[in-house]
Structure formats: structure tokens, C-alpha cells
């Protein structure tokens, strides 16, 4: 099994690997990290077999490391994903993906159609109301946006 995976998506020397992304969420993760605008070699795999998830996606980015704040954006899409920092073909660090502690700024869209952020050109801002179930409270209209209704901006 291990060999087969390596054939599907080749290894990188240095960089970041995000694995165990539920296949349906792969393109959202690409978008939220802005990978479509970064000028480094990267490979994406999707609908790969996964015992845990059924079908998973994987992202391998050469020579690119992320700030915690960037990574935590992934948590708004999935907390299943695992992130490894690769140095010289080896995993040098496993990073945890968790919902941001306090504020979520400019990533999520408020669920309330009457919220001012959906009508004016305003960066959204939420406090994390419930990290476990991922519900966010809008700093403007004070309404709760839960995971089911969460939409990512950009």
C-alpha cells in the first residue's frame, strides 16, 4: 500500500505536506491557502484511497512553510487533515490543525443575509463561539454561523 501511494503523488525534498484531506474538501483547502497564486512546485492528489476517510486528498508543496494562522484556516474546512513539515525527504515536524483561539478574520462569510458585512465592503470578523462544533459569532450582527452554514470567502 505504502509504495502505491508514493507512485500516485511523488515525494518532496523540502516543504509542506497536507494529508488526509477529505476528497470533497481538497479544492476548498487549495483556495483558502491561496495556493493558486503561489509560484512554487506543488502536486495535488485527490480521490486517493484512505482507510479512514474513504477517499482523501493530499497536497505537497515544495519549499513552502506556513504560519499557524494560515494553517488554522484549514480547520474551518476540516479538522481531519494532517500537516507535516518535510526537511530532506523526512518529516521534521507534525503540525496540529486547530480552530483559531479567538478571532476568525476575513475568511468566513456571515450566514445572516441582513448582516452589514454582506452588503458593504467589510472584512468579516468572528469570535469563536464554540471551537469544538465550529460555530462563529459575527462581531457585527452578533448572529451565530455554524459549521453547516459556513462559507469561505475567496
Amino acid at each position: 500500500m505504502e509504495n502505491e501511494k508514493k507512485l500516485l503523488v511523488s515525494a518532496i525534498r523540502n516543504g509542506t505536506v497536507i494529508d488526509h484531506i477529505p476528497a470533497k474538501d481538497l479544492f476548498k483547502v487549495i483556495s483558502i491557502l491561496g495556493l493558486d497564486t503561489i509560484d512554487v512546485p506543488m502536486t495535488f492528489g485527490t480521490n486517493l484511497e484512505s482507510q479512514k476517510l474513504g477517499k482523501k486528498g493530499v497536497i505537497k508543496i515544495s519549499d513552502k512553510y506556513f504560519e499557524d494562522n494560515d494553517l488554522n484556516k484549514i480547520a474551518l474546512i476540516t479538522t481531519e487533515a494532517r500537516l507535516n513539515v518535510i526537511k530532506d525527504f523526512k518529516v521534521s515536524e507534525k503540525r496540529e490543525i486547530k480552530v483559531p483561539d479567538k478571532y476568525v478574520v476575513g475568511i468566513a462569510k456571515c450566514v445572516n443575509p441582513k448582516c452589514v458585512t454582506n452588503h458593504e465592503n467589510i472584512q468579516t470578523k468572528f469570535t469563536v463561539f464554540d471551537a469544538e462544533n465550529l460555530s462563529l459569532k459575527c462581531e457585527y450582527c452578533e448572529k451565530i454561523t455554524d459549521k453547516k452554514h459556513l462559507k469561505i470567502i475567496k
Binding site: V116, H119, E139, Y140, E142
Partner: protein, 308 residues
């Protein structure tokens, strides 16, 4: 409070609220004062209002300040597609304080972030209306002589009514007992009940008026809007259940006062208007004194008759 915007009732601490109520009493004793002579207040009403706008403008005028503004956005550049940001930024350069009502929720908070002068929220959609809450508190304080340990009944639309939610949050500082009377469809949302539980505040839920109202110190009525019911038959069946009439009030406490943020439709029968327990028109009048106090506090000014 000085130079600080008032967007939500939670912007004011218990001490801040006490200071507003103290000053409101002084303005009630002497409503006409010259403390705002060099101030221009913007009154921006992007959607209609009777009491809030006129009581704010009266409050400014009685304090010798001047008001500029509009009572509907049709006559402004908003109708040309100007953003709220540009409107507020511009008006903030003309005036010393902005009073704003806007249909979008969160608009007051946003305005307070971009304005160089303080913003007072006069209602942002279904979200917050803190000056209403402060005048409600003043009315309760004035009629009961205290805010602590009161039995407060909230009646009508407890699900969507922003005034009852803000009042509940504000009163939670004063160890009340709450009774909620509403149709199950319009019951108090769980988040507020969880909030009360977290503060160990007692509350009871009822589906109609029972003799328990004999314990009430304050009965806060709200309008039940037809559009809240998807089934018009259900509305017709239930609307009379929550209509307050004199015979319901027969055995209630002598200190009981009936409050209503107004406008009312039919939830308080006209016959109650002459009952000594009816207080809603007085309550509306208290709005002027309370708003005078809020303006003075934000401008950092004292009432002329303040000996402290």
C-alpha cells in the same frame, strides 16, 4: 462613556448604567438646559421611526444643541448608491456625534469603527437598540425605586423581539426572577435561557396569562407580528390569548407597571390605557430624559443641576 460609541447595551457596565439613570433623573427635573449649545448632532434614520427619532431630536433641542439629518434615506446620496462607509465618513466631519438607525444588522458597530465622532445606535435591524433598553431600565427604576430582586414578566413575541432580549441581558445584573408568557412558536430562544442558567437566574415559561401574574412587579408587553406565523389561522387563533385586558389585572400587585416599547397593535386593549398600572406612554416620555443623559455622558458633560 466619554467619547465612546454606544452600539450595544453590553458596552455599558453596571456602573455606567447607574450613572445614566442618575443623570436621566436630573434631566427629568430640569429638562431644558444649555449644555449642548456648541454641538451639532447628526440624526441619520435610514428607516422610519417615530419615537426614537423624535425623542432623540427633542433631547438635543432641549439641551440647546442642533440637529442635522434625514428621516428616510430616499432624499440622500444613499439612493445614488453611496456606501454606508462614505456616508458616515462624510457626516462625521460635519457633526459632533452621530445617532443612527439602519436596517442592516451590525451597521452601527461598523459605523462606530469608521466614524471619527461617537456613534449612538438607534436600532440596527433586529440586532440592538441600547437606548430603548436604557429607557426601559429608567422606567423600571423610577416606578419600583430599585432594579434589584424584581419579578419581571415578558409577554408576546419573545423569539424575535430585540427589546426583550436586551432587557433580559441588562436586568441579569440585578438578580431578577423572569416569567415568560408566549406562544411556543415565539418562545424565548435557548441561547438566552442558557445565559440565565449560567448566571443562576430563575425563569419560568407559561403559554398564557395565569394567576401567577399576581406576583409581577413589571409586565413588559411586546407586539406579536402576523408575519411571524406561517399559518394565518394559527395567528388568528392565538392572537387574542396574549391581549392584556383590565380583568386580567384585577388581583395584581399595586406597584405593578405595564411597559411596552410601542408601537402597539392590539396586544394591550385600549381600556387598559386608563388603568393606573399602565405606564407605556410615560415610558416613552422617559426616552427623552434617558437620551439626554446618554448624550451628556458621551460628550462628557454634566447636567446643570448636578451638585455632585
Amino acid at each position: 462613556m466619554k467619547n465612546k460609541s454606544l452600539v450595544s447595551i453590553t458596552d455599558y457596565s453596571k456602573e455606567n448604567i447607574a450613572e445614566i439613570l442618575r443623570m436621566a433623573k436630573l434631566f427629568e427635573e430640569k429638562p431644558n438646559q444649555r449644555i449642548l449649545e456648541d454641538k451639532v448632532v447628526a440624526s441619520l434614520f435610514f428607516e422610519p421611526s417615530t419615537r426614537t427619532r423624535l425623542s432623540f431630536e427633542s433631547a438635543v433641542n432641549r439641551l440647546s444643541g442642533r440637529v442635522v439629518g434625514f428621516s428616510e434615506s430616499g432624499s440622500t446620496s444613499v439612493s445614488k448608491g453611496e456606501s454606508l462607509k462614505d456616508t458616515i465618513k462624510t457626516i462625521a466631519t460635519y457633526t459632533d456625534l452621530i445617532v443612527m438607525r439602519h436596517p442592516l444588522e451590525g451597521s452601527a458597530k461598523y459605523a462606530s469603527e469608521i466614524s471619527d465622532v461617537p456613534v449612538v445606535n438607534a436600532g440596527d435591524g433586529a440586532n440592538q437598540h441600547p437606548t430603548q433598553t436604557l429607557l426601559d431600565l429608567y422606567s423600571i427604576y423610577k416606578t419600583q425605586g430599585k432594579l434589584d430582586n424584581l419579578n419581571i414578566f415578558l409577554v408576546g413575541d419573545l423569539k424575535y423581539g430585540r427589546t426583550v432580549h436586551s432587557l433580559l441581558m441588562a436586568m441579569s445584573n440585578y438578580n431578577p426572577t423572569f416569567h415568560f408568557i408566549s406562544h411556543p412558536r415565539l418562545a424565548m430562544p435557548d441561547e438566552y435561557k442558557m445565559f440565565l442558567n449560567s448566571k443562576n437566574i430563575k425563569f419560568f415559561e407559561h403559554e398564557d396569562f395565569t394567576e401567577i401574574i399576581n406576583q409581577a412587579d413589571i409586565m413588559y408587553m411586546t407586539r406579536v407580528q402576523k408575519e411571524r406565523f406561517s399559518d394565518p389561522i394559527e395567528y388568528e387563533k392565538t392572537k387574542d390569548t396574549y391581549v392584556l385586558k383590565n380583568d386580567i389585572l384585577v388581583n395584581t400587585k399595586t406597584n405593578l407597571k405595564i411597559l411596552h416599547p410601542l408601537p402597539r397593535v392590539n396586544e394591550i386593549s385600549d381600556e387598559v390605557d386608563d388603568n393606573k398600572k399602565a405606564y407605556y406612554f410615560e415610558q416613552a416620555k422617559n426616552g427623552v430624559y434617558t437620551r439626554q443623559a446618554i448624550l451628556a455622558a458621551i460628550f462628557g458633560l454634566k447636567p446643570e443641576n448636578d451638585i455632585n
